[in-house]
């Protein structure tokens, strides 16, 4: 205070002012440091997290590699190695999950056909499943060589399905998916027609099958009109081999007017639009046939 008295009041005041100001800023600086420290800590935590993530990812990748290779021995080794780590179980599950997800994706990409590699990756074996009205029917297989170009080396598709011309028409070399889709349509339609014929024979003993063929593309039935007992010859043509329904329905009868009657015109529509065994059931219920 002595010094202050010598220098004067004003200078002392200004000194006090400076002191007061500096006293105000000091806590401000201190909080700034704190903030930065917290940020650094957060970043460090994030870094550790990312590091851990990278590590997990790397380990996942490793697991995936061994899974893709499908080498059981390697997997065994891995298991032994990771036995002490507590997340290894989880990791393996995660790896399996991504593996399955990728497989599912690939399965969608190839149109849902079961495909497996054969001859150490030099070929594939494709399974085309058929079904009709929710009933699984025959499965057909194709073994295809991949190099030098796609070539069907072995298959169990019956000879009345024109496999080679379908392959040519749908450009198998460049678009295998289109080829498989066409083939699947042909096979499913054939299986469906065959199944319909089987159901027809089982369910309608009063209907006589006069004609059919191995491709099930022609069906001639002998129907009987109840009271008059007139016989009606019903011809179903399945010209479109990719469909289960006929493209033409024709009735032959001694009574020339019968096919043109409104009732039988309706029957014709029915046969065109519904599977033959169910159409016959309806016709029976309506009292049009025995």
């Amino acid at each position: 205070m002595e010094g202050a008295s010598t220098r004067g009041v004003l200078s002392h005041l200004s000194l006090l002012e400076v002191q007061a100001r500096s006293r105000k800023t000091q806590p401000q600086q201190r909080s700034r440091v704190k903030e930065l420290k917290a940020e650094a800590e957060a970043l460090m935590i994030q870094r550790d997290k990312l590091k851990a993530e990278i590590q997990t990812h790397e380990r996942l990748q490793k697991l995936r590699m061994s899974m893709d290779k499908q080498c059981p021995r390697e997997q065994e080794e891995e298991e032994e190695m990771d036995e002490d780590s507590e997340d290894s179980q989880l990791l393996r599950l995660m790896a399996r999950h991504t593996h399955l997800k990728d497989l599912l994706h690939a399965h969608h990409l190839i149109g849902g056909y079961d495909i497996i590699k054969t001859h150490q990756g030099k070929g594939v074996c494709v399974s085309v499943a058929t079904s009709y009205e929710g009933v699984c029917l025959d499965t057909y297989n194709l073994e295809i060589d991949l190099k030098p170009k796609l070539r069907i080396s072995r298959h169990n598709v019956p000879p009345f399905i024109p496999l080679n011309s379908l392959a040519e028409q749908s450009n198998m070399q460049t678009n295998i998916r289109a080829f498989l889709d066409t083939l699947s349509r042909h096979l499913n339609a054939f299986a469906g027609r065959k199944q319909q014929l089987k159901l027809l024979k089982e369910q309608h003993k009063s209907v006589e099958v006069m004609e059919s063929n191995v491709l099930c593309s022609i069906l001639v039935l002998m129907l009987t009109v109840p009271r008059e007992k007139t016989a009606v010859l019903c011809t179903l043509d399945y010209t479109d081999h990719t469909r289960c329904l006929p493209t033409r329905v024709h009735f032959d009868c001694e009574d020339k007017e019968l096919p043109d009657s409104p009732e039988w015109k309706k029957n014709c529509h029915l046969l065109m639009e519904t599977p033959v065994h169910t159409a016959l059931l309806t016709m029976k219920k309506m009292g049009n046939i025995v």
């Binding site: 079961d114 497996i116 297989n141 169990n156 191995v214 081999h241």
Partner: protein, 346 residues
């Protein structure tokens, strides 16, 4: 009843085993119940033949009726004689719409245009097979019913199966078939055997084929009695692998019964120690024939037991793969007429 009808019936009776006679006559459905009852099937064949001859005489039945009877028997027992497969080529656009009535008419008319005396009978079997019985004559003689040709065709498929066909009749049949099925050509499919069903199943792919699928059908393991469990474990892997490859090459389960496979070699003789043979200009010809009561099963067994190496050589796996059992093997370089190129070494 004329002589030829009589002889046809006598021959038929000689061929058919007595225990099958009753069902065949029932299927023929020409005999009345009384006639059927009058036949005593415990009698000797000779007596039965006489009784049937009398009934035929009574009803004035001709060769037409007797050949029907024969046809029923052959359709039910097709594994007789030697069957040859043919393949129809280049179908026309409307080939897939050929139906039975149309085929029948066309075939008969085409064949009778080619040859004056011919008798054709066509019958459809329950499995959609069209059976054709042809009794051939020539310009001067009437059809010989004692040596008929049988032809089986499934409409809409490219295959035709034929038995008892002479080389003279072959072009006639070929032409009638090609025209009536709406194709452009027919060729020998290089497959033959005593069992019609085997040849049909092989070409129509009606036998169980094995494929490397994701969910493999468990191939039946054979009951091997190996005393040492270690040896068993060591060998189980390769053995299962061999079985899988053998089944993929030849098929799974019951296999079509082929009796033989013939390989005709027209190759260069290669052996440095034998100069005279190696330097010969013309090709070295030889025929290799494999024969067995069930060839495919034998081959599959050879491969699965390790007698033949796996993967199976294409020479053998071509039998089921291509559906043929006659191959001509030539060297790869010249010879454009070869049917199956195969490099032969050593």
């Amino acid at each position: 009843m004329d002589d030829s009808a009589k002889r046809l019936l006598q021959r038929f009776m000689r061929r058919i085993p007595t225990q099958m006679l009753k069902t065949t006559l029932e299927k023929w459905s020409r005999l009345t119940v009384a006639q059927q009852k009058s036949l005593d099937f415990t009698q000797s064949k000779w007596a039965l033949t006489e009784a049937l001859l009398d009934i035929c005489e009574e009803n004035k039945w001709t060769t037409k009726h007797i050949s029907e009877l024969e046809m029923i028997y052959v359709i039910d027992n097709p594994n007789q004689g030697m069957w040859h497969a043919f393949q129809l080529m280049d179908p026309e656009d409307d080939a897939h719409s050929v139906e039975l009535t149309q085929f029948k008419e066309q075939f008969k008319s085409h064949l009778s245009e080619l040859i004056r005396h011919v008798s054709v009978k066509i019958k459809k079997h329950t499995d959609e097979a069209v059976w054709i019985r042809i009794a051939w004559g020539d310009s001067y003689s009437r059809p010989n019913h004692l040596k008929p040709t049988y032809v089986v065709h499934y409409l809409q498929t490219p295959y035709v199966f034929v038995t008892s066909l002479t080389s003279k009749q072959k072009p006639l049949l070929s032409q009638a078939l090609v025209l009536s099925t709406r194709h452009h050509a027919i060729k020998d499919a290089n497959l033959s055997g005593k069992k019609f069903t085997a040849i049909r199943d092989l070409l129509m792919r009606q036998y169980q084929q094995a494929f490397p699928t994701k969910y493999p059908s468990p191939l039946k393991e054979k009951n091997q009695t190996v005393s040492n469990p270690l040896i068993e474990r060591e060998q189980a892997g390769p053995a299962a692998n061999r079985l899988q490859m053998a089944c993929e090459a030849f098929g799974d389960g019951m296999l079509p019964q082929l009796q033989s496979a013939v390989y005709k070699l027209e190759t260069k003789f290669r052996d440095q120690t034998n100069k005279t043979m190696t330097e010969r200009e013309e090709s070295f010809r030889c025929v290799v024939k494999f024969a067995s009561t069930n060839l495919l099963e034998s081959l599959r067994d050879c491969a699965s037991s390790g007698i033949a190496s796996t993967p199976v050589t294409p020479l053998l796996s071509s039998i089921p793969l291509k559906g043929r059992n006659y191959f001509v093997i030539t060297d790869n370089s010249p010879g454009p007429s070869s049917q199956m190129h195969q490099k032969t070494d050593g």
